[in-house]
Symmetry: C2
Subunit: 416 residues, 2 copies
């Protein structure tokens, strides 16, 4: 009955938040980023009696949505702190970081798999999974450390957006090859073109054109009589922010990009209108409420038992994923100096949910075409790599930031 269903969900929400709070206290005590604690909560839930106790298998849809909303609000919040003008300054560096950070992991991953005797399709999927950076993890660490305005943070975020577009193009090509049909170069071209166009259009309209128009209008209005009542008639900041955020994330998802790219662009556009529509204080608590679900459910997708068979290959791939991304992105950012390049290289390491999405697409193609594209073993390797890079990045990022900024940069104990 409906009543029982709601009762169960409320109990699940209660349990998850309690576990997250306990993990936060432990993380603060041992001085580890709290995001690690949230992922660990998920891993613990998934691999103990807690999974059945909380009865999480029964309403995946609800938590899938809460999880996605969590990462969407997180990226929107990060976008709010990243006006386009500041990204533009780091544009060239970000492009270099993204391109080198894509090429190196892809070819190394592909080469290794082919060298080990795996099929070309499996090798391509592993390469594709090693490409795309999950900006969610890095964004969270940057946000927890209050370093959203650091130049390295901006390069990372900018590069991660470009990275996602490149990753999507590669994934489209790989799917085309894996599907067995002749690779439709025209279609891949069209999809890529749409994605680039979308990002550029949003940036142009939201961050360049509209702010100028608004500025002119407000200058004009300042000379006229303007009643306070007229202002309150308009839309309030929170609903407007929600509308723009959901609109751009669904368009982004519709075009084959990650929904979070749209959310980030929406936040970036909103950053230009902080005076007219101050929505930050209203968005922040919603982010705080929903974001933990994302990280907990990243952890929940881990089944420890499944890793034993492929552990060695998984460790090799993970090490390569870390080294190639670090070196590739570091090369791209070398003109910022060694310490900054190290921060950026480390910040681009986590593959998180993007790697998991590539693995999931590989598995679903297996069903669709009824061909064993990704053996279960390779699937587990990709999952392991995604999670290991996700877990290793936050402490490294904290360390490299501290090394550069010294005592100025302190991990905030509990975001309030």
């Amino acid at each position: 009955m409906a009543q029982d269903f709601i009762q169960m969900v409320l109990f699940q929400l209660f349990m998850i938040i309690v576990l997250v709070e306990v993990s936060k206290m432990i993380c603060n005590r041992v001085k580890v980023p709290t995001v690690i604690g949230e992922i660990m909560v998920g891993i613990v839930i998934a691999n103990t009696f807690l999974y059945n106790f909380i009865n999480l298998g029964s309403d995946t849809e609800v938590f899938e949505v809460l999880k996605e909303l969590g990462v969407i609000f997180l990226l929107f919040t990060v976008g709010l702190e990243t006006p386009f003008s500041t990204i533009r300054k780091v544009g060239k560096t970000a492009i270099m970081v993204a391109v080198f950070g894509v090429i190196l992991p892809f070819f190394v991953g592909y080469g290794l798999m082919v060298g080990l005797g795996y099929g070309i399709v499996e090798a391509l999927f592993v390469g594709a999974a090693m490409v795309a950076t999950s900006v969610g993890i890095t964004a969270r660490v940057i946000k927890d450390m209050n370093l959203m305005h650091a130049i390295e943070s901006r390069v990372i975020i900018g590069a991660a957006v470009i990275d996602d577009i490149l990753g999507m193009i590669i994934l489209a090509v790989v799917i085309g090859i894996a599907g067995g049909g002749a690779l439709d170069i025209v279609q891949v071209g069209v999809v890529s073109f749409e994605a680039v166009l979308f990002v550029l259009a949003v940036i142009f309209i939201g961050s360049l054109l509209l702010p100028k128009v608004m500025k002119k209008r407000s200058e004009k209005k300042a000379t006229q009589v303007c009643t306070a009542e007229r202002r309150t008639r308009g839309i309030s900041p929170l609903p407007l922010a929600l509308i723009i955020c959901f609109a751009l994330s669904s368009v982004s998802s519709f075009l084959g990009l990650a929904a979070i790219i749209g959310a980030f662009l929406a936040g970036m556009a909103f950053a230009e209108f902080k005076d007219t529509w101050p929505c930050e204080e209203k968005i922040q608590p919603i982010t705080e409420f929903l974001t933990p679900f994302f990280f907990v459910f990243v952890g929940i997708s881990v089944s420890l038992a499944a890793f034993s068979d492929v552990l060695i290959l998984a460790i090799i791939i993970t090490l390569l994923a870390i080294v190639t991304k670090f070196v590739g992105c570091g090369i791209g950012a070398k003109k910022l100096g060694g310490k900054s390049a190290a921060i950026i290289g480390v910040g681009m390491i986590p593959r998180g949910e993007v790697g998991l999405i590539v693995a999931a697409i590989g598995l679903s193609l297996l069903d669709e075409y009824n061909i064993p594209i990704l053996s279960a073993g390779i699937y587990n390797v990709i999952v392991f790599m995604s999670l290991a890079t996700t877990l290793i990045a936050p402490p490294l990022l904290t360390y490299t930031f501290r090394r550069k900024l010294g005592k100025k940069c302190e991990l905030a104990p509990l975001k309030e």
Copy 2:
């Protein structure tokens, strides 16, 4: 695929928020409470091409949860504004209002149905559906008008809580009779006792015992050296509020009470700790984000086409539901004076989701015992009554409040 599912949900969220904002602008222009607009949005969606366009039939679980979270956060916020000390002052009046407001509608509804020749079980269900007040609607209007501190508001909220307990007892008795078996008085007694005990225990511990203990502890601490660091080590207000809120609402739901009763009690307990854990500013935006989903989905459950057959009976029952509640509660509150009694009588009118829940239970019993307890016609009558009382209450409440308070009380144009 998972990606498509998320894409659809994001689009649905976008569409619903856009429609709600449009309805708000219209409501503000024609000076009608915005909650009416939200319900109308739901009715419009349910009865036009929009339902299929937004594709709402396909993920009911997600929106069922968003809807329930919306009303839970609303009642928690109302509880935050209602410290127990202020309810205690109006306790006797609230009890009188609740008792008279339950007895009159129940017997009049039951009597009419029996007089019209319907079966005893159907008559009992109609009576039961006419009993319980949906505090959500009234709470929203009171909140939008910034009248949470008015004595009438407190009597209404207090009475609605008692009302829900009485309603639950009646529903348990009716289900016992309808189930065909001998009515298990003992079991009904146990369930009722548990419910009363829960409410009293939460009030005693949360609103009386803990505040005293905390006060003593802080007095003790004030004499010791207390570092600022120690304070930040503890739990932050928002997670603590979420934990208590979800804990009490699931216990409340587990005991057979509405989950929102638990949420309200949690908010009421939190009201005593505003200095230690100020969570209001953090909870408010979450409420603002989620609450519209509740009212939109109340509207969506309305199928206009289904009403034509039973329209006359539905109108009669609705009028009786309004008059009996108004008179019953008015009698209970008569010592506060005519104008205040009128406000309270009007504030108790909406049946909202509580009536809908009774109707839904009636229909589900029909399935379970394979007996036609509630004919589809009577089901529609109850649904009509619930919605009509819900739609009529906000304007009446605004009117009666204004009549008493004069110009001092203005409907806030857009809650910010």
